[in-house]
């Protein structure tokens, strides 16, 4: 198909629907309008919550942004509704000649995503390495004018920071939601690969393929929902640990991060006393809990999972109807690239934002 471009004098309609028999359209206004809509939306959001102050006057701008995005998506959908998934345009230019254009597009998108998360990671590194946390201050030891002039003094309150990861890494129960989520994402990466494998398998009868593909995609969907559910438990809800004396488990509540004081604008202090076991001395600290970057980064990742759930809902439904064949299974592959990327980011988020 892609070889026909040079001889194709067909003029595709920029507002769709598109005739795919003449190749892929190159003149859609939708991406341009959608970018403008997102810009208006983000500008409105930034203005609506400025320095912790809510300005309702900017809500119309947010709504206009969403309206433009919705309009663009509608046009895009209208153009692509005639796409049956069997025609796969190939790149004609160097260096991607012969590779599916959509596949290259997904990779370019993932590159931009990588830059978004790199910005968040570098900010986190800067924050963690640049600001001393309470544990580091305590580890410096007691003040001594000669041997330890930068140490803490008994009776003098120290003001220091505690990142959310310190609370999470403090007990197995606090780690549990993040650890389960790690396994959930790895399993989901595997199940989506399995869905692709069975969708592409040529010597499988249609009913067996339908069952395999929708079960694996459905499992991926379930694991994604589990991920966000546990995220909500960890952030807002907390959970109850029952008494099981046989294994030495005592009844207690695991309090959510928000209830522990880790809010996105954490502007309050918690008082805590650290005891030096060697000398019996106390370091009294006013701890400013700090979690803004934790919520922004894990929230951005969570938003990607939420986006994945929307895609998976559609794909699972399509698979249930028997919509995937070896000829159009690449759609699962392209979504799979995005989903693996979400897993990839979590591989870095979990150790550094949860465990360290």
């Amino acid at each position: 198909m892609s070889g026909d471009y040079d001889h194709d004098h067909h003029a595709p309609k920029p507002w769709g629907p598109h005739d795919w028999g003449h190749g892929a359209p190159h003149n859609s206004f939708s991406p341009l309008f959608m970018s403008m809509g997102i810009a208006i939306f983000l500008f409105g959001m930034a203005q609506a919550w400025s320095y912790g102050t809510y300005n309702p006057g900017n809500i119309p701008m947010i709504l206009v942004g969403l309206l433009v995005v919705g309009f663009s998506l509608f046009i895009w959908w209208r153009q692509d509704i005639s796409f049956d998934g069997h025609y796969e345009p190939l790149a004609t230019g160097v260096p991607f000649r012969g590779i599916q254009i959509r596949k290259v597009g997904v990779w370019v998108f993932l590159m931009s995503e990588m830059m978004v998360f790199t910005s968040l990671f570098s900010t986190y590194m800067r924050y963690r390495l640049g600001i001393e946390n309470c544990g580091t201050v305590f580890d410096r030891g007691m003040f001594d004018p000669v041997t330890n002039p930068t140490g803490w003094q008994e009776g003098v309150t120290v003001t220091c920071f505690e990142p959310a990861s310190h609370l999470i890494a403090s007990s197995w129960w606090h780690i549990a939601p993040g650890a389960i989520n790690t396994f959930a994402l790895i399993i989901s990466s595997f199940t989506i690969v399995q869905a692709l494998r069975y969708a592409k398998m040529p010597d499988l009868d249609d009913e067996a393929r339908r069952k395999k593909v929708y079960r694996y995609l459905g499992t991926t969907w379930f694991l994604a929902v589990l991920f966000l559910t546990l995220k909500m438990v960890e952030w807002f809800i907390g959970f109850y640990v029952p008494e099981i004396s046989a294994i030495g488990l005592h009844e207690h509540d695991i309090i959510s991060l928000v209830d522990e004081g880790y809010t996105i604008n954490a502007d309050h202090y918690q008082h805590h006393s650290y005891v030096d076991e060697a000398t019996g001395a106390h370091m009294v600290a006013d701890i400013q809990v700090s979690a803004s970057l934790f919520y922004v980064t894990t929230g951005t990742h969570g938003a990607h999972v939420a986006g994945g759930i929307i895609g998976l809902s559609y794909m699972t439904y399509k698979a249930w109807l028997g919509g995937y064949t070896p000829k159009n299974a690449v759609s699962i592959e392209y979504f799979g690239l995005y989903w693996h990327f979400v897993d990839l980011i979590w591989v870095l988020v979990f150790p550094f934002f949860y465990l360290y």
Binding site: P95, I99, T118, Y124, A179, S189, F190, Q194, L337
Partner: protein
């Protein structure tokens, strides 16, 4: 799809098992008391934990990208790997010059790399 084997087995299953084992080691590294081990290397437990987590994150990252995302073993793996590595320059800039700088870098840097020298 993968056209190769890992130790004679299906690559996706092998990758899956490998990732699960590495994640278990990660969680164990945080839960175990590594104080004595850290002291034997004249460092703190946190530093040891960070090294373990960083070292384990690297193979996990590569395993997902190479096997699950097909950056290894497919016809187009080479050019797509280069595409995926394209942001590496940006990442190096962000990590080295933003992430690893110190708050007093502007005033604490040596004279030769501060504004005000060379007539700037």
């Amino acid at each position: 799809m993968a056209h190769y084997k890992i130790f004679g087995q299906d690559p996706y299953w092998m990758n899956f098992f490998g990732l699960m084992i590495l994640t278990l080691i990660e969680v164990a590294a945080v839960g175990l008391d590594l104080t004595e081990f850290a002291q034997s290397y004249d460092t703190t437990e946190k530093v040891v934990t960070l090294w373990i987590l960083t070292i384990i994150a690297i193979p996990k990252f590569i395993m997902i990208a190479a096997i699950f995302m097909h950056l290894y073993g497919d016809e187009d793996s080479g050019i797509l790997t280069l595409t995926a590595l394209f942001p590496a320059f940006f990442i190096i800039i962000m990590v080295l010059f933003v992430g690893l700088t110190h708050p007093d870098a502007a005033s604490g840097l040596p004279d030769w790399c501060r504004p005000g020298n060379y007539g700037l």
